[in-house]
Symmetry: C3
């Protein structure tokens, strides 16, 4: 038997909204230590991993490991029926073919229960090695969202260059070229508004803007996003999921473009 309760539905609602465009379906792997997910996006270009730790829940019980195949569009439809402030409880019998979601309003005047049919989804787990990155950039997630959205109106790919002074996003297209630079800046009192660059060596990588844009759907989850960059390796775009854990998006750089555009910049 599996049962997990959160005092506020909002975090799960935001998480599923963040995932559903990128990941049509995937397995929630449930174990006594929490809920995890590993899935490729529907075009098999980028990888999404999710970890929600048991101790972040108000109540968490999992008697035996199980894998629940979720259609994220359908889960989203059900979660839209939950109020942000509702208590939410997830439940499933062992080897169940459905996941039950219960929503309770604060004063218990409104109680909803939904059964979501589970799917059988084949998946293989990729081992993702721990990695030292050339550059780790923490920045306001709203700023990240705005930059990749703005650049999408100008071009298809973006060159992301990290130096110790700042992080620069560059693109070009039919109408012209664009460069947006965010400076390393730890002066704002609110940590959420700071931009913090932890640099081992300068790095410049080119990515498809479309995917960086999709990752930004996780912006409502948390005020800061972390970008981890190393030459020839996928970028990791990481958002915290409340106190529960984090969601990470992995996207490989465009190798040709990087060599054509990036090497010079990375040395500068």
């Amino acid at each position: 038997m599996f049962e997990a309760r959160l005092p506020q539905a909002a975090v799960l609602k935001k998480l599923v909204e963040a995932l559903k465009e990128l990941v049509t379906e995937g397995n929630f792997d449930v174990s006594p230590s929490g809920i995890s997910l590993q899935a490729m996006d529907s075009s098999h270009v980028c990888l999404v991993t999710l970890q929600l730790n048991d101790d972040g829940f108000e109540h968490f019980r999992c008697d035996r490991n199980m894998s629940m195949g979720i259609h994220f569009g359908n889960l989203s439809k059900i979660l839209k029926c939950a109020g942000n402030e509702d208590t939410i409880t997830l439940k499933a019998e062992d080897n169940a073919d459905q996941l039950t979601l219960m929503f309770e309003s604060a004063n218990q005047d409104r109680i909803s229960d939904f059964d979501l049919k589970l799917m059988s989804i084949e998946s293989e787990h990729l081992g993702i090695p721990d990695q030292d990155y050339s550059a780790e950039v923490k920045m306001p997630s709203a700023e990240y969202q705005r930059i990749v959205r703005d650049l999408t109106s100008m071009g298809d790919t973006v060159l992301v260059s990290a130096t110790k002074e700042g992080i620069k996003f560059s693109t070009s297209g039919d109408i012209g070229t664009a460069n947006i630079t965010l400076r390393h800046n730890t002066t704002p009192e609110k940590e959420d508004e700071q931009t913090h660059i932890d640099l081992k060596e300068p790095v410049a990588l080119t990515f498809a803007l479309r995917y960086l844009n999709n990752f930004a759907k996780a912006t409502p989850l948390t005020p800061q996003v972390k970008l981890s960059l190393t030459k020839d390796l996928p970028v990791v775009v990481e958002y915290k999921v409340g106190e529960l854990g984090q969601v990470r998006f992995f996207l490989a750089p465009k190798i040709d473009d990087e060599e054509a555009m990036g090497d010079d910049e990375a040395q500068s």
Copy 2:
């Protein structure tokens, strides 16, 4: 001659917005006692009745009974030109082929008059007998709106079950099943937020969600809605129209579904 004045256009604007999707056209029957309307929706599935009493108007004069054929989409276009706070006056000569609408801003700086062409619409009046209902449920209209909208994403029909504890809305569809229960609850200080169930006997009826959803377009009119339920009879969904009267929507239950799903529930 017919003339009727309201100090605020808002109520009439909301009313016509509520009706125009369901009822393409219908006759405003004007008499010295007020304005009434009886119309089938365009798919001839549900019935709408409206009563606006003469004494709810700031000024009301009707020299002889007349029937004015209204295209609600066109009336809506004209009412969109009225400010919510404008005084509104309706005028027509006896046997006129147009209805004049005058809008005046509070300081009289802006005066508009619109002539709406009237239509000739055949209609027959149904006698609607007074009825004792098995269950009368008053609930927040926003809650009703939200429930039927949420369930529409899951299924096509809804089983509405009233017991003395509460009113339950159930549906099922391809992605799973859903139950939302609202408890009888008279504790909120504001009467508008209460849910009040007046029960003679438990009842459970199945309806097409699409129509219950359309009725919810009347939500802006008033904070409470009343549902009146009796076995084998149409549900009545009633909204007050300010101090003027009320609009009622009638929808027959789905008999087959009710027998298959409802009888057991109704006994419980």
Copy 3:
């Protein structure tokens, strides 16, 4: 070399939003006295002129006159990347084939530069003679926007009649007729809310609503709009562009309709 700086990007963003629907492309003519533009709308029905004076800018330098061919849709895409409060700098070398736009946030933490490719656009300058108008009407720009938008739902053309009492907008269509009158009114304390009619002689002219509606996209620029009307001459619809100058829209009246509908009114 050309360089111009504004302390806030908002005014330029609003201006380009106002123009881009009507004018696909046009030449910014830059001289030491400022920036000007003269362009026909894409259907070659109405004329747009713009004047931004050098002394309205925080900094303005222009070494030699030049003409920069702008695609307004593309310029709009770039300006959407500027924050309303950003400092904005426009730069171009003499005879450049691109215009550089720099946006700087207040605390300099975010710096963007965009290069917009320039176009070669043929254009001829029309001499627009100074003119005494029969009627000059200043009115709240939001009121103008609302009236022409409201009437567009009723008809295709509007008869605009100015008398010393007020300005009346009339239309008719399939669903009926409409008249909206705004009275001369200088009583509101805020000048922005006044309607002021300066009349030499009554005038009534008929225009295509579609264009008057398009002009109203300039509403966010300023709280007042000025309409200048003379028989048989184009109406001038004028909006101030902050402290920089103004944009003017010229639209010829519909002569046939005017004679059919307007002459009587103009004498009244």
